[in-house]
């Protein structure tokens, strides 16, 4: 440092010089940046040549997203509005944990065995080999597994993914689409939204209708365990009030008749025995 203050003077000169040099800021809306041709900063849904979305609302992307950032809704093949997003994910997995951290008593996990269900791995590998370990046989393998276990356990899906060299998100998505069960067969959980919006829009009528249909009150389960009825304020579908959620799918806005239809549809799928039991319970109640 030769002269005291020389460094400061140098800095002052630099800033003064820059006062008169051209500025580098881009004035965004007027001045568009030239994006590199390889730019992949924008997400877009792809359209087919007829102008339709190619997205089929299969939720595969939402299920595999590690940060759970994807929230999507759409219509299933019967025109029901379905949704998969934060409330569904959090209600399923995280809610109890949040309660526990807050020092509050938490309800038990609904299906604690789901992630840790043991599967008969040698048998499963045998099944896969029996189909020649071909990816085309995926649905057939699912069918065999469901026949044995009653549903598709998570570990079985992992093994299938591992053996068939298909990414597990794809396996999971295929299992979710094809009418297979991802939960043990016992118990659909029907949740009626009790948020203010839904109650205004007729949520209590929904609840009454479902109580009548199932023969149980909120917080109870049918004797055969095929259905349980709950209310919750976190169905999280304020825009589609009134809403109900059956397992992980949210339906809304729906009328009491539609709700009855949804439940009876599932009862049919569960088999004659279950529906007979429910009917017996309903009759006893009546």
């Amino acid at each position: 440092m030769a002269i005291p203050g020389a460094g400061i003077a140098q800095g002052m000169w630099t800033t003064l010089r820059n006062l008169f040099t051209p500025k580098v800021t881009r004035q965004y809306p007027e001045e568009r940046p030239q994006m590199p041709e390889r730019w992949r900063g924008r997400l877009d849904l792809i359209y087919d040549p007829f102008g339709e979305h190619k997205c089929e609302v299969c939720f595969q992307c939402a299920q595999v997203c590690p940060v759970e950032a994807i929230d999507m809704s759409g219509f299933d093949s019967q025109g029901n509005r379905i949704r998969y997003g934060m409330p569904e994910i959090y209600d399923e997995r995280k809610d109890a944990n949040a309660y526990r951290r807050a020092g509050l008593p938490a309800r038990p996990m609904r299906n604690p065995v789901r992630w840790d269900e043991p599967v008969d791995e040698p048998w499963l590998r045998g099944v896969i080999e029996g189909f020649g370990a071909r990816p085309e046989a995926l649905v057939a393998i699912f069918g065999t597994v469901q026949e044995r276990h009653g549903y598709l356990p998570e570990r079985a899906l992992r093994v299938i993914s591992d053996r068939l060299t298909i990414h597990w998100a794809q396996v999971f998505g295929a299992a979710g689409l094809g009418g297979f069960r991802l939960l043990p067969a016992e118990g659909h959980v029907v949740t009626v939204c009790a948020c203010a919006a839904c109650r205004f829009a007729g949520g209590s009528e929904l609840l009454d209708a479902l109580t009548d249909e199932l023969g149980i009150g909120p917080g109870e389960a049918t004797p055969d365990g095929a259905f349980s009825l709950e209310t919750a304020t976190d169905v999280g579908a304020g825009a589609i009030a009134p809403a109900i959620r059956i397992d992980t799918l949210v339906y809304g806005p729906i009328t009491p008749e539609q709700a009855r239809h949804l439940v009876s549809e599932r009862r049919r799928a569960a088999g004659p025995a279950a529906s007979a039991a429910t009917a017996a319970a309903t009759g006893a109640r009546a």
């Binding site: 109890a96 944990n97 526990r100 604690p112 992630w115």
Partner: protein
């Protein structure tokens, strides 16, 4: 490539010679967890080996579904005399995961060990700051163990329910209370000599000495 190192190691530790393993740029030995300080100090201070730089210290959980459930604390060391990394795998019992600390050799192992404690639940005996580092202090699980279920509720997993480590019987508060006078505030600005503050604060006994396993 690392022939000289292999020879030097098998000379130095003949009892470990059958655990030697090499690949293109690494030489590996396996030791029992209780011997880690001895072996690390030997390879650090040995004139021929001279592994002066602790590159990494990590824990690996060979989980309950393995035939030999165990933890391993893996040290990677660097020496400018050998063109290979030295990897020392120290075996830790999975049921009672305890191992001596190496903060007496490298103070920088402190954060490594805190992370291993936080993530795996391995207790480093003699480490004077074995707290959780990433998770909150009241967290009751060790998230990087293999029996910790990722998509599931942490509190439901098998690694849950561990009581945080509190061992007040090991503290001797009077020791640092004496040394901790207002010396730190006495002179300003600090000189180059004063930056070795731990010598002064601890009253002549260096931090490294204290944290050496007793």
């Amino acid at each position: 490539m690392a022939g000289g190192l292999v020879r030097a190691l098998s000379d130095r530790f003949p009892e470990l010679a059958d655990t030697l393993w090499t690949d293109e740029d690494t030489v590996e030995i396996q030791v029992e967890g209780s011997r880690n300080v001895e072996v690390l100090q030997a390879v650090r201070d040995d004139a021929e080996l001279g592994f002066w730089w602790l590159a990494d210290a990590a824990a690996v959980d060979y989980g309950p579904d393995r035939d030999d459930p165990r933890f391993e604390v893996v040290y990677h060391l660097f020496s400018d005399r050998h063109p290979a990394w030295l990897r020392i795998r120290a075996r830790v019992d999975r049921a009672d995961p305890r191992i001596p600390t190496i903060t007496g050799l490298w103070e920088g192992a402190m954060f490594h060990e805190r992370e291993m404690y936080d993530m795996m639940g391995i207790v480093f005996e003699g480490n004077r700051d074995l707290r959780r580092i990433y998770m909150s202090p009241d967290y009751r699980s060790f998230p990087q163990r293999k029996d910790f279920l990722l998509p599931d509720d942490a509190a439901d997993s098998a690694a849950a329910g561990v009581v945080p480590l509190e061992r007040p019987e090991t503290w001797d508060l009077s020791r640092f209370r004496e040394g901790l006078t207002s010396a730190a505030a006495a002179t300003y600005p600090p000189t180059a000599e004063r930056t070795g503050t731990e010598q002064e604060v601890e009253g002549g006994e260096t931090l490294a000495d204290q944290s050496r396993p007793r």
